[in-house]
């Protein structure tokens, strides 16, 4: 599904919290739909940070994130006429950007194997069951930068589901639809991603404590 064809619904309350009305946005959308380039620049200025941050978190690579931010806004330019206002513009644009990133990932190699397989990193990358190690507790000790870095270090399949669910607030049924996988697979990947993140964060803490 492309964002231009179907109006995506807001994912949940987190999306509503993150999509407050923006002063002047409605006028800019109407003007951009009429072909006003300055209005389109206004929309870019309003939304570039959110779209780029999404691309960067999903891809973990600055150059690719910039390329896909560019692609997302060019798609927006082509499709803005189809925006009907059934959902928040930022939600609609966000979904469009997610689709651009997913298309890119499929083109890069995901078509050769099913996405279900691609979402299943090798055993070496996976989280372990936790039967020991009471020495460290994460609560209250992780800053934003540390968490961002750990997310970057996640295997791509885990990172996708974690970013879409825990950071961006999509529900499992939406993620399953976007990634063409089962809802159960999305849930399972999310749990594994959180376990892997815990491993990464605890390893980082141990290294810090050892210095």
């Amino acid at each position: 599904m492309s964002a231009g064809q179907t109006e995506p619904k807001p994912a949940n309350h987190q999306h509503l919290r993150r999509n407050p009305p923006i002063l002047g946005e409605a006028e800019a959308i109407a003007a951009a739909q009429a072909g006003d380039e300055r209005a389109f620049e206004t929309l870019y200025a309003l939304h570039k940070r959110r779209v780029y941050s999404l691309c960067l978190r999903m891809l973990g690579n600055v150059a690719a994130a910039e390329d896909l931010t560019q692609d997302a806004f060019l798609q927006l330019y082509r499709k803005i006429g189809t925006f009907r206002g059934d959902s928040a513009f930022s939600t609609w644009l966000h979904r469009l950007a997610v689709n651009v990133v997913l298309m890119h990932l499929r083109k890069k190699g995901l078509p050769q194997i099913s996405l279900e397989e691609a979402l299943e990193p090798s055993q070496d990358d996976g989280p372990r069951k936790d039967f020991g190690g009471r020495d460290l507790q994460l609560s209250g000790s992780i800053d934003r930068v540390t968490l961002e870095r750990a997310i970057e270090d996640l295997p791509p399949g885990y990172r996708l589901v974690f970013v879409l669910h825990d950071v961006e607030g999509y529900e499992h049924n939406e993620i399953a639809e976007m990634l063409s996988c089962s809802i159960g697979n999305s849930k399972s990947q999310l749990h594994k991603a959180r376990m892997k993140l815990r491993d990464l964060l605890r390893t980082g803490q141990r290294k810090e404590n050892a210095v």
Binding site: Q14, R18, G35, E37, F40, E41, Y44, K48, R49, R50, Y52, S53, L54, L56, R57, A63, A65, E66, D67, T69, Q70, D71, F73, L74, Y77, R78, K79, I80, G81, K129, D130, F131, G132, G133, R134, Q137, L138, S139, G140, I142, R144, L147, E148, I151, F162, D166, V167, G169, H172, K187, S188, L190, H191, R194, M195, L197, R198, L201, R202
Partner: protein
């Protein structure tokens, strides 16, 4: 329910081990139930710490707001693509897409 040493709890005759509990954990998180009342967690500090950490990670992730900005080259390329391709006026085709220098 009976509590045994080493974090094992029994429900009827079945013993709940850490492995059993962690097997059920994804499902428990999805139900959004209050896990603090779970019998196994009351006696197993290891699994309790795991649950605290995973909840903490999910909470912190929700607080990650967009903070990164793309380089100015991104807008320059978008502008250039829009202006150089007359087919994009009115918006329905594929503008040629320049990439930032050095890629």
């Amino acid at each position: 329910m009976t509590t045994r040493p080493n974090g094992r709890t029994t429900v009827g005759k079945a013993i709940m081990t850490c492995a059993d509990f962690q097997e059920r954990l994804p499902e428990l998180f999805e139900t959004k139930a209050d896990l603090s009342a779970d019998e196994h967690l009351k006696t197993c500090e290891n699994c309790a710490a795991l649950v605290r950490d995973l909840e903490y990670i999910a909470q912190q992730a929700k607080l990650l707001l967009p903070i990164h900005d793309p380089s100015p080259a991104v807008w320059e390329n978008i502008k250039s693509a829009i202006r150089n391709d007359p087919d994009t006026k009115g918006g329905s085709s594929n503008p040629s897409v320049p990439r930032p220098a050095g890629r």
